[in-house]
Symmetry: C2
């Protein structure tokens, strides 16, 4: 039995007495890894170290922070089969998926390294002085984004690499200049420890301050709540369930000093099929939808759990049924998640007017640990009058809503709450006719997709992985892509500050060669 300790800056600490084990959801037994639950003293120690480290880390250049992130990425890519085995054994995810996620996570680290090396992200703005302006002189004003302070990150169970210890929240906070304390997800603690050690080592070899990163273990809520309520913590990143995200949000806004919480809480990601598209590619759409909704056992934030179509003569339901029966289920991340999936499907089925349209023919060896995909169907009336039908069931299931008119379809769109994504399948000319639908959907989602599926969240400048409440607690941000960095910064303005004391990005000479807004004009020129 391997015993893993808290990572507190450059030290490890196993001060506690309570422990818990890593669990294998496939064979339903404990793995040979035991974890100490962090004590209140250890939590406090990690925060104090983060606050001290912040005073050094906030002054690190973009190039230095980029070296840190690149070092994590390089080491991550060197983890070979060992990481895959450790991770697979506690998540039930197949090797290929973990390998893909590892590359994605490393690329995400490198993307932020590139952003930092280039440097323009700080949004430098300069308005130069006009000393002889009347009635009063205009001062010299210079604006830049600075980091908020120590950040707490709660990783997600469903992306043990890309949305966990070295995932999007951690990397964007570190890129911003904020130390990070990760509360390891109890569904993959061994993977977390593995990655935590990589970050700890990378911090040391790239000369980052002790405390820039810590990793704490807990299979309950004590450590997380203590972190969120600690006065030296300045922001929180979270990916997970609505219930947990909302509890963290409520704790954060009721602190003596409220702090921002970026909770990405998932959604049902509606997919609308327009009549012409269904006529032209009904069978193809049915197959692609069935594959998307069951991909990775339906364990994606952007899983398209809602399909709305306008009835046509063609029998789309038959195509859906045929395609869905051919899909696969699999082991889910944890027994709790599997149970919630089964209960959710049963509750939907118990609703009058909701029926089962199809069930996957998947027949697992160990039925107790596997989820079997189920596709449900209902009509507009039932759907619009049963709010719980639009709530997310995490897993390989979707609900098909059959509508008979464009008006009905629009009424469903109008009634949607906030989602991460919304998708429309339509022929070109038809999409113009349904422009009203697109107008509604962009007000309900962070990302609007045409003729595709929402799974697969590209990591780039233009991504928005966010959306109106309740898909997140802050629709004004994204948790994927370069814009995620601004969750952990705030603007500050320097008035008449001498050149020597200004941050390098704001000096007259544009040493970093970054894009700046000088007296309203975007330029890379020096001020002379």
């Amino acid at each position: 039995m391997k015993q893993e300790q808290q990572i507190i800056g450059f030290d490890n600490s196993g001060g506690g007495s309570e422990t818990f084990c890593s669990y294998n959801p496939a064979n339903q037994s404990n793995n040979a890894y035991q974890f100490y639950k962090a004590t209140a003293d250890e939590v406090n120690h990690a925060v104090l170290k983060a606050a001290a480290a912040f005073q050094v880390y906030r002054k690190k250049s973009g190039v230095d922070k980029a070296k840190f992130l690149t070092s994590i990425a390089d080491e991550l890519l060197n983890t070979g089969d060992e990481l895959v085995t450790v991770c697979s054994n506690e998540t039930g995810l197949p090797a290929a998926r973990i390998e893909g996620e590892r590359v994605r996570t490393a690329n995400q680290l490198k993307m932020f390294a590139t952003l930092l090396t280039e440097g323009s992200w700080v949004d430098a703005r300069i308005d130069t002085a006009i000393p002889d302006r009347t009635p009063i002189p205009k001062p010299d004003l210079r604006f830049i984004h600075i980091p908020l302070g120590p950040v707490v990150v709660f990783g997600a169970s469903n992306f043990p690499l890309a949305f966990s210890v070295a995932g999007g929240d951690t990397v964007s906070a570190l890129a911003a200049g904020c130390p990070v304390i990760v509360k390891a997800h109890p569904a993959h603690p061994a993977t977390s420890a593995f990655i935590g050690k990589i970050i700890q080592k990378a911090a040391q070899i790239t000369d980052m301050p002790d405390g820039v990163f810590s990793l704490l273990f807990d299979n309950g809520i004590d450590v997380g709540l203590q972190l969120v309520k600690h006065p030296l913590i300045k922001a929180v990143g979270f990916t997970g369930s609505f219930k947990a995200g909302k509890a963290i949000y409520d704790a954060a806004v009721s602190r003596p000093e409220p702090i921002p919480v970026y909770a990405e809480m998932g959604s049902t990601n509606p997919v609308f099929i327009l009549p012409q598209a269904m006529k032209e590619r009904g069978r193809e759409i049915a197959t692609a939808y069935s594959a998307a909704v069951t991909l990775g056992v339906g364990q994606f934030c952007t899983n398209p759990g809602m399909l709305i179509y306008q009835n046509t003569e063609q029998d789309f339901n038959e195509s859906l049924k045929a395609a869905f029966e051919k899909t696969s289920g699999g082991v889910m991340l944890t027994p709790t998640i599997l149970n919630a999936y089964k209960t959710g499907v049963q509750q939907h089925l118990a609703t009058e007017g909701v029926e089962q349209l199809a069930q996957s023919g998947f027949q697992p060896e160990m039925e107790a640990s596997n989820a079997i995909p189920v596709l449900l169907i209902t009509n507009t009336n039932v759907f619009n009058n049963t709010p719980q039908l639009s709530e997310e069931i995490f897993g390989p299931t979707g609900i098909v809503i059959s509508t008979s008119t464009k008006k009905e379809m629009l009424s469903i769109a109008e009634n949607l709450s906030g989602h991460l994504t919304a998708t429309v399948h339509g022929a070109d000319e038809e999409l113009m006719e349904y422009k009203e639908l697109l107008d509604i959907l962009e007000q309900r989602a962070g990302r609007v997709i045409i003729n595709g599926f929402p799974t697969g969240v590209e990591v780039c400048n233009s991504m928005v992985h966010g959306g109106p409440y309740p898909s997140t607690t802050d629709s004004k941000t994204t948790s994927v892509g370069t814009a995620a960095i601004f969750r952990f910064t705030r603007p500050v303005c320097y008035q008449n500050v001498p050149q020597l004391l200004l941050p390098v990005a704001l000096k007259n000479k544009n040493e970093l060669n970054i894009s700046r807004l000088i007296n309203g004009v975007r330029t890379t020129k020096d001020i002379i």
Copy 2:
């Protein structure tokens, strides 16, 4: 007696039975203006109109919105003596101040019109598709900021034009594409009605939708709370006291759907005087500080209510005393504010270790309606152990904290909570020696000022009028300057959306000639 009604879009409505009067704080009597208090139905009607208007207004081009804002600005500049008289009679502010504020408010409207006409503010980002990428194709992704929805604005008593009905919150929300409902401040309802009619007219003549602007009256809290809790309201702008701002914040975050509240709640704006600067220009600084802290009867959010110096042999206190005694007091905005000022000073004076350093020689004709400036003094020990001494007293008063060492001065800086501004007076070489102080201050304030005073908030791209809690409820924003627009927007991403359906800012052809981030490169070029 002139009776003023609610402005609800293009209609006026006087459905209520309760009324209140505009009050003249100088002669302590009612003005000849009576206001209906908005009823619950009127509030709801204004919100429904705003929500309907949003569907039209959100699609208006930058040029069209700019015409609307410019029309308000032009009309505002045409208000002549009438506005000055109305405003002065209910605020006690002198004509010159109101005239200056009018120009500032018009310039602010024009600045946002310029921003909209130029158009790059939307932060357009485009990552083009790579269909043959392996293992999976890269989709076409395009990112832009879109407006949040109907916004409620609570104007401030102390800036009846620049932070009120047509002030910074209103103009930045309208610029973003959000309809605005203003809850008129009861300390200047006639001014509010005057300006509200200008905006109503401007909306009509520039073809904006009915409901893009409404103005509601209330001298209590019912209308404000109903607005903040209304499910169709998507954000709140507020400038005023900590107590009111925090109450609005608490109401907003506990809604079924929490919404962002941008409450700018003022601060004490510490000013630090370094030894060499005091030696070189002690008398000058004493005079300038005395003028700044009593300017406009101390009724500025950025009033420098805290002065910290490091003891030197020169008698700076004597200079301060001499300068302060020559300052003027005056009529305060409301009797409530005047009483709070007097009580606040008395409470500070009742604290052991706090003494009166100076009192203005100002002798008003009507003592009951005028504030007399008072300067207090204490030492580091008392200050650091008495948290309430750092709380804002709104009015012409400051507290001087005499420290004997650099370490003591730094300890005061360390103990500061969030402020809108922090100021340092120092000789050039000395500022480098006190770099540590500046490092601390930029973590405590939204704006850091060298060798100046914080009053006078320049309206430009580089301004930050914001700061860490409790100076605001959202340190990540500013309520003055062009960056204020992002308080009322969120990013949305379009994936594989056909050219015809994309917002004009995101089409391949850069018709607006705006700066865009295309595949990581900032450019105004088309995509070909």
